[in-house]
Subunit: 322 residues, 2 copies
DNA sequence: TTGAAAGCGGTACCAT
DNA sequence: ATGGTACCGCTTTCAA
């Protein structure tokens, strides 16, 4: 912005000066604000960060993942907390990019931090590119650590393991595990199935993966095959799939929990509305605020000791369907 | 980036040149790519846009709004489509900012377009600030137009009106309308109630607003007051509240739809699982892709004739609960 | 207190 | 095809 010739306008160098210096006369301060207001002056974030050599951008990769209310609430809170810490949250859609392409694309924005929820498989090289472009914190959430990045544990296997352990405890031995056919859910469904298998290992129980689409037709088809499957329990990925399947089973004459026990996950309110009430795995997520504070801490001290954080705590809520 | 002294590196001015010019020798092209790869060179988006005088940022204000799967799917698709059109989507949390503060904060990023879903009440002045900072498209979605901005119709009143019209058709005259107590939903619930009132105007029907929190306790409390309310129908804001309330009413001995008809909205799959099956209002949203294309069109020709777009089409799906 | 100038990284244009 | 340079808006530093 060119200095204005108007005698009423403050000098423009003074504008930058205002927020930092304390010994600015109050009238000048006011004049600056007022002039900025009148002229519609708004500082240019890109120019500032170019000059400063760093940004306050926290980049959140996103991909087309239809997740539940739990996750989106967490995300929302996380973003809000970051804003309060004066970061600019940039949500970057990364569908279809591979790890290294994505990392380069992200690096163009020179984010000070990248928090990846696992939508994109970050490689050590990708992490390196990001760090060399100025990222002070690269944080991944997921079961498997990436070299060079802070990794926070969010192990979906625990969900499957808890559900399965509960079913085993109840005496079930032939346990179906629903794997949704919808794309984008593999990230959750794979580990949940794996966890169930782990829990069953060493017992005489059998784990049977069951593909299921989120439609009434798919559920009805699966229910019609039920007698042939000979299962006495099913962990249905989450509450929504569980509700869908349970209804289809009931309509097909399968008694719940008499013939087959049904278990969900996420502890949706709606699950308690069915009869029998749906048993579930409640997932308590670390608050978004605490994760935001962690990001901030890592940004301020990138070489600090990596903190151990479990983002998820799971607990079985046994109701009537098991 | 300083020119490297290494004889193998291409000149840096050549780097910018590569994507635009056609008459670059293929070997040079390769050398450039390879050098960029080896050195971990990544272009600096802020520098580029500073020089270019404009960005490719599309700013999406967000606020803490717990919305359903319909909306978030739309948003997801919208973001993805914008990326394909080579825009950078910046989701900017704006909770707690008033219209003009928000506009200034957004303007710092010099977005080429702002698409506001109504979380923040944009003023004509705010729109002006944005446009003067380089925004070529300011688009608001909602029932009421803002001066200076493109406004796309997404009138939640239609939802309430359709639901109510259906109930009137079925002969109901004392109609409750659920207004969720959860914060952040006023943006939807207000217009839905208003639409219901409009539909009932000129008839002898009565509209009764009913506060309800999304908990079983709240639903049970409302159900226990039901006989005193003397209502013969209820539009329960959406399917989730409808499912919750319907179950509570049934538990309290109210016959559905004999004593009271219950109607939801959003056409969730889960609503079809209850008995009786839940009647609902299906909301068909314009695809995110089409909205992205519209944004692109407005950016390219900001002064084109404002296009008329209805983003929402509603249709009653009558099932068993009404 | 105020003015002037350098420089962040990339791009567009100049002259070679 | 290549080297040189000015400039985008802002911040910092040094000089007046």
């Amino acid at each position: 912005m060119k200095p204005s010739k108007s005698s009423k306008s403050p000098r423009w160098a003074t504008v930058s000066y205002v927020p930092t210096a304390v010994r600015i006369s109050e009238p000048t301060r006011r004049r600056v604000r007022q002039a900025a207001e009148e002229l519609g002056y708004v500082p240019h974030a890109a120019a500032r960060s170019l000059r400063a050599g760093h940004t306050r951008i926290v980049l959140l990769p996103t991909a087309h993942v239809p997740v539940g209310p739990l996750y989106s609430r967490f995300l929302d809170e996380f973003q809000w907390s970051l804003r309060r810490l004066d970061y600019t949250v940039v949500q970057y859609g990364s569908t279809g990019l591979d790890g290294d392409e994505a990392a380069r694309a992200w690096a163009e924005l020179r984010p000070v931090a990248v928090v990846s929820f696992g939508e994109v498989a970050l490689t050590p090289h990708g992490v390196d590119v990001l760090k060399r472009s100025g990222a002070r914190a690269v944080i991944t959430l997921g079961p498997r650590p990436v070299e060079g990045a802070h990794t926070l544990a969010m192990d979906q296997r625990d969900v499957g393991a808890s559900a399965c352990a509960h079913l085993l405890e109840r005496g079930h031995r032939r346990i179906g595990v629903v794997v949704p056919e919808e794309p984008g859910l593999e990230m959750f469904s794979g580990p949940r199935l794996e966890g169930a298998r782990t829990a069953a290992a060493g017992t005489d129980a059998v784990i049977e993966p069951l593909a299921l689409a989120y439609t009434e037709e798919s559920a009805a088809a699966l229910a019609s095959r039920w007698p042939a499957l000979g299962l006495d329990a099913v962990f249905a990925y989450n509450d929504e799939y569980a509700m869908l399947l349970m209804r289809a089973l009931q309509d097909a004459g399968v008694g719940i929990p008499g013939d087959t026990a049904v278990m969900g996950a996420d502890d949706l309110l709606l699950g308690g509305l069915l009869r029998p009430r749906l048993s579930t795995v409640r997932i308590a997520m670390e608050t978004g605020q605490r994760l935001a504070e962690l990001v901030d801490r890592v940004v301020r001290d990138p070489d600090g000791a990596p903190e151990r954080h479990d983002l998820m705590a799971v607990r079985v809520v046994a109701r009537e369907s098991t």
